[in-house]
Amino acid sequence: MNAEILIAALVNGVLTGGVYALVALGLTLIYGVLHIVNFAHGSLLMVGMFAAYMMATRLGIDPYLGLPLVAAFMGGLGWLLYRFVIGPVSRGEDRAILLATLGLAVVLDNLALVLFTGDTRQLETNLTFTMAEVGPLLLSVPRLISFSVSLALAGLLWAFMALTDTGRAIRAVAKEPEGAKLMGIRPERIFALAYAIGIACLGAAACLLLPSFYVSPYVGNVFVLVAFTIVVLGGMGSFPGAMVGGLLIGVTESIGGLYLGESLGPIGISAVFIAVLLLRPTGLFGAVR
């Protein structure tokens, strides 16, 4: 195999992994705090991508510039979903919340079908064909931006969780909701906030993905399985786990595709996944029980 292609595949895997990590970050936050598996995660990513697409095509706002708006919109949507769907249902049995998030996914997917039809849409921005020449490599500038912003957002989220009172409250509720309540923290508000932040992460990921991907009512399915894999691989509820897991999956997918062919490449992901879980069943950064 040509060394140039190998290096390109490696770099490309890292860049792709950064965005995977951002998609997984929201999922792991929601699991870590609320202890629910959000099956509507892919569908909500799709909603974010359509929001970014509509903003670009109707209002002429570049997805990168519109990132804060879409993230805020998705955060608000997440808050509302928690207050009126997730929250009320999560007080019952565990399986009820699974069905609720699955049902939410079905509703969102079909709503998108009604509004946008099953067609695929794509966007050409000013940067779509801008490439950075690094030695013999041609690196897509939109992907470099996506990777950098993903890392920056992950860092900000980590700082928010580690350094602010609200972040500490979220961590307290995640660890011991009853104890947190005794300290004057209102867990329901924290749950809603955590869900909103998780969904806001998806809004950011949507804006970063759109310039180099496409959007359709089923686009969430393309990313949701890989996001679940990353969360489990990194350790459920772990931020560093989501970041490292995202990068690991991105690189594995790219190198696997290169050596095994793009048809068999995903086997590499499964192999790494199984190997890590055999050696460390709680995931790379999961708490050892």
Binding site: N2, D119, Q122, E124, F213, F223, S254, G257, E262, S263
Partner: protein
């Protein structure tokens, strides 16, 4: 027009408004000697993953019904109006077959559908039980008309005809340009459709003096085509041939441009994402890409008026709209010829049909075992953001840009 579906009310869009217009025109007059309406089962996937294409077919079908009714209905039957029985197959073969049963019971005299081959196979089999004529709109596999079903007719070319026509077209375009394409890489999705088509392409390429350097399969979905494009770049082919679905078609095409792969051209057969929307949304990528696919005769002035009508209603003109439209026209023509909507007379009229009231790049119909042997697909190229026919010469609206300009 009635909706035979359990999905409740449809969405209110401009498309619906157009359909509603068709419905109004299809309504029988109250009083007088109005002959009974001729009911047509219109079965497509208008929800689910195939919703876009299915809705496009339905749009064409309802436009045709509106046109025929506006022009006085089936004159040989005393001006009998057409009435659409709309069915949503939801992308599931068993539902398509079940809709046929329901519509047959509701008095359907003919069927059209179903966009996707699996749906078409199931629905035509079900319709054969009642011997009700079935005009296939889009559904390309040969088997739809090779199973000996006497009631099934396809105005448009099947898969063998399409693949068989694609290589002579490429050969003609290449030779006309002085044979700049000598090597090719075939990128294909790894399912049955892509793998079989790619193998057939690779074998046929040798026959026209182009060496297939490698077949590169990929999964569906594939999130990133950088590796595949880097492999293509290393192989240095003159041509890249693409056989995959819409999403991957768009991603691969974009990555080829981003990685500055130096090609004489790209050529796909039934390219999943090759349409006018692709040309408008991704103009940099789409320009000068070629595809062998279904399209209308751009030279025929009726086609321009039809396209304007579709676009004025805020819809996109795709081959599915045209197929949906002419499948209904074919059935109506048979009822005119037969002077009846009876099953046997209609089937006989279709078998001997010389239907030519269309703007497809075909001559009059000549059905052999239900397949119109006079139909053909054409080589298309996106030039200046529009779809142009570049082969065969008789129907070409523009000369091919081949090899494509550098840079």
């Amino acid at each position: 027009m009635s909706e035979t579906t359990s999905r409740g009310l449809g969405r209110l869009t401009r498309r619906s408004a157009l359909v509603a217009g068709a419905a109004t025109l299809a309504m029988p007059r109250i009083g007088g000697a109005q002959p009974a309406a001729v009911k047509i089962g219109v079965i497509h996937p208008v929800t689910g993953a195939l919703a876009f294409s299915g809705s496009q077919c339905r749009l064409g079908a309802t436009m045709a019904i509106a046109d025929i009714n506006a022009a006085g209905g089936i004159k040989a039957m005393g001006g009998a109006k057409l009435e659409a029985l709309l069915g949503d197959a939801q992308g599931r073969a068993e539902i398509a077959a079940s809709l046929v049963d329901q519509m047959a019971e509701a008095g359907a005299s003919g069927f059209t559908g179903c966009f996707a081959s699996p749906l078409g196979l199931a629905a035509t089999t079900a319709a054969a039980k009642y011997n009700i004529p079935f005009a296939i709109d889009s559904g390309i596999v040969d088997a739809i008309t090779t199973r000996g079903l006497k009631n099934v007719f396809r105005l448009f070319p099947n898969l063998s005809m399409t693949i068989g026509g694609a290589m002579p077209a490429l050969d003609a375009i290449n030779k006309k340009a002085g044979s700049p394409a000598k090597t090719a890489v075939v990128v294909h999705e790894d399912g049955e459709f892509g793998t079989n088509t790619a193998k057939q392409q690779a074998a046929a390429l040798a026959g026209i003096g182009i060496q297939a350097l490698e077949l590169l399969p990929h999964a569906t979905p594939t999130r990133d085509f950088t590796n595949i494009v880097l492999k293509i770049k290393a192989l240095k082919p003159d041509l890249v041939m693409i056989t995959n679905y819409q999403n991957e078609y768009a991603l691969l095409s974009r990555t080829l441009v981003q990685q500055r792969v130096d090609l004489v051209g790209t050529y796909s057969i039934l390219g999943g994402g090759f349409n006018l929307k692709f040309a408008k949304e991704a103009p940099t990528v789409a320009e000068n890409m070629m595809d062998f696919n279904h399209w209308y005769s751009v030279k025929d002035p009726r086609s321009a008026a039809f396209r304007k009508r579709v676009e004025d209603s805020n819809n996109i003109i795709t081959f599915e709209v045209i197929f949906g439209y002419f499948a209904i026209k074919l059935l109506a023509d048979a009822w005119e010829r037969a002077g009846s909507a009876g099953k046997e007379p209609t089937i006989e009229a279709l078998n001997t049909s010389t239907f030519s009231d269309h703007f497809m790049p075909y001559g009059p119909t000549k059905f052999v075992n239900g397949q119109n042997t006079g139909s053909q697909a054409v080589a298309l190229q996106i030039q200046k953001g529009d779809m142009e026919v570049v082969w065969p010469d008789a129907f070409a609206s523009k000369s091919p840009v081949f090899p494509r300009p550098k840079g």
